[in-house]
Amino acid sequence: MMTQSWSGIRKAAQGAATLGLMLVSTSALAQQCSEYTQAPMLNDAVANGALPALASRLPQAPLVSDGVNGTGSYGGQMVSHYGGTRIGDFRSYGYEPLVRWSPDGGEVMPNIAESWSVSDDATTYTFNLRPGMKWSDGEDFNAQDIVFWWEHVETNADINPKGPRKMFVVNGEAATVTALDDYTIEFKWSSPNGVFLLDMASPYGQRVVQFAEHYHSQFIKGLNPEGVAQMMEEAGASDYTQWWIGRVGTYGQNAEYYDPARPSIHAWVPTDSPAGKERFTFERNAYYWKVDSDCNQLPYIDVRSFVLSSDPEVALLRVIQGEIDLSPRNVSTPPNRAVFFDNKERGDYRLVTANSCNYNNAQFMTSMSHPDPVKAEVFQNKDFRIGLSLGMDREAVIDAVYLGQGEPYQIGARPESPFYDEDLARQFTEFDPELAAEHLDKILPMGADGMRVGPDGKPFEFTVHINQGFRPDWVDMMQIISANWAELGLKVVLDVHSDEIGQARRADPDREIFLWVGENGCGQFPVVNLERFTNLGGYANWDNWDAWYAKSLDASFEPADGVTPMEPPANVTRMFEIRDEIPLRTADAQTALMDEFNSIAADEFITFGVALPGGGYRSVSNRLQNVPDTLLEGWLYPGPSPVDFATFWIKE
């Protein structure tokens, strides 16, 4: 069954590279099936010849995937919720990369790739595909499709003007992608790539298998100039890139799902374009390449419907009425737990635990490059940050805002992760106003009226920026924390802004303390996520430091307007270096680097947090079977889809 033990399981690429060849084979049970069974809804089509027989639709060695409670029965419809933004949210729709995460997030497992091998020095990754596997339109799925994707989509300047995604680029060098034969594909660089398997199992890894050569060639300008020109003219489009985004779509753009004729390797495929619809359905893919250990072709469920509700209150009402089979993340929040509980009989659902991969509910990121020299001096002072952290009553926040779920925590990997560092995660989490005052006195002396003054003797105030649309709980949290800080003589200004201008706010050079959540802190994700433990790629204003570091790597780097490169403390430079170096190393070297990073981060204490998230839940309709009692949520681990929706079934 499902466990959520992250620690001690390191069977990912890091281990693989040092061990050399690593072959993970599919279950031997697959070879034992002499005959497979298909869903009854397909029997007619096979009988009158519209569909080939099942044996020729499946690959020679289908992936064996079993539900958490065993084999299910065919039929039924699963209704999910769609919030109106990205359809391609694989966490609820489907997750089919070359390799996938295990349901507990501990190891990388085969998916479309039957097995893989990594060279000793981790420069070459070879994936073995499944002979006989087909796209949803019956055409072969093979290595040529992946080569096509690389040559004509990912590296195509017309479609991807800024080049391939950085997971495919090592030391500035893009991968060389070769089809060694029809069913073997190789990714190769001249330097080691220590995190490629992690990246391939993340949602970003799915792009590799989303383009069928036989279908998408017609949309590539270089391969089909007249056809493309005609299609563009019919659509009234003048720009190829923009037309591509609207017609074919790449990587999370909704257009990917608008074309029912587009071949897919997912368990359910659109029968009609969902564009602009309130409710759309995806139907079973007759060529799906997974079976259970009783030789039944998956998925069990015939149809998946998605119902649009852009307003969370309407979504909540729908869920507690029992219309939605698996509740969406945005309404399964601690404040709504009571409503969910009260309506269990009426809505005919049960509640399951949903553990988060997040390591903090709120991460306070102070500006290190503030234009005002007085503020810059205060923000860069460690005593200021320690004072703020010690002056926060985290227990009160947890009790009041998070219903007692969670524990006080700083910015570091989750306790279950192999990269957990006790110092980093727990230091300065006590509520100690006297000690806080001592630290604050060193940089912000107490003024005559009981309010602290800055190093220049003038009254000092600072702003905390809160995106209320994203996390309304931050507003409640800051009520308590501001009161705590006010008692220490600090003047805090709360900038509560709406979601719509969130992006503009985070680019504002005057931003002071910026709040965000701490994500991807479970399992091995911290390794590919180090920027979150620093300035989150620009959410915190470290512009001057970033510019200095970028210039040190490349002398021709031009800083943006208003940014003056400024050398950070030696420790911080080391943090940048580790962040860039880790992807190039393997296993043990990565562990050593992470340890170093953690101890520097603990010493410098640049960012601080409030609490480890806890108490997550989802509602699951009582008709829906094979849903584990504990789910995991996250992004790089795109929970809950790794538990494999194809193994769910409907019990009427």
Partner: protein
Amino acid sequence: MGQFMIKRALLMIPTMVAISFVAFLIITLPPGDFVDRIAATAAQDGDRMTDAEISALREAYGLNRPLLVQYADWVWGMVSRGDFGTSFFYSLPVDQLIWDRLGLTSLLSILTLVFIWIVAIPIGIYSAVRKYSLGDYVFTFFGFIGLAVPNFLLALALLYISFRYLGLSVGGLFSPEYIDAPWSLAKFGDLMAHIWIPMIVLGTAGTAAVIRTIRANLLDELHRPYVTTARAKGMPEHRVLAKYPVRHALNPFVSSLNEIFVQIVSGSTIVSVVLGLQTTGPLLLEALKQEDMYLAATLIMFLGFMTVIGTLFSDILLAWLDPRIRRELSGGS
């Protein structure tokens, strides 16, 4: 009269140009653009887009061009081939999106209007005729409650009541089974079963205003000499009322026709959002929040257009109805 109409029609053109320019400008006022919204949504899922991806997307959508160039491009598209642009968010042509929703929006607005008139006009007349009676006070009281309670609050309360005590499926104008089904008697029945909540919510505020207006106008009229004369001549009371004073009291409704035009197409945005209705109001709100330029600008321009047309139409209708205005227009004599 004809001259008046022509002059007004000609004046519409510069008005429309000005409206289109202002509409476009308004959309671009908030900081950031559509690509920023994509990046923000992605970030909230945990997917941080790199700056390179963001600027690539911006180029693809043409959002890095100067505003005037984008505006000129849009206007040229409208004028030369009737292309109102594409919605970035839906990846669909704007006119298709608006057209799809117009039917339901109009139906809901017309039903609401009919509801208001059917309820409010008789009550208004009754209130005027039986001034200060118990009935008058009771109706006025309920009318004001409807006016004072915010629409969305009423909507939420009715939604909850209908869920909890009536067991109806709520949220949207159709039950899940009927959303994409073709039109049939059953689907129409389902629509009627759902539409009463929006109708009541949107109607209650309107009825209060209508009741008071009718009551006040009618009261003015009932004291006129001609009413006394009619009564003296033995006319039955209901004919006295219906023949002249009520028609006079209805005058303000004709002159507010332009309001009605706008209402019909814009729908009531907040209530529609709360109730999950597929009308144009939420479409505009979402477009504005997402900075989906062409969709929002087209909708605003469309609303402006409806207002202009509505004003013209109501002026013409008023002129036709009211001889005093006709005389004024033809120069007075």
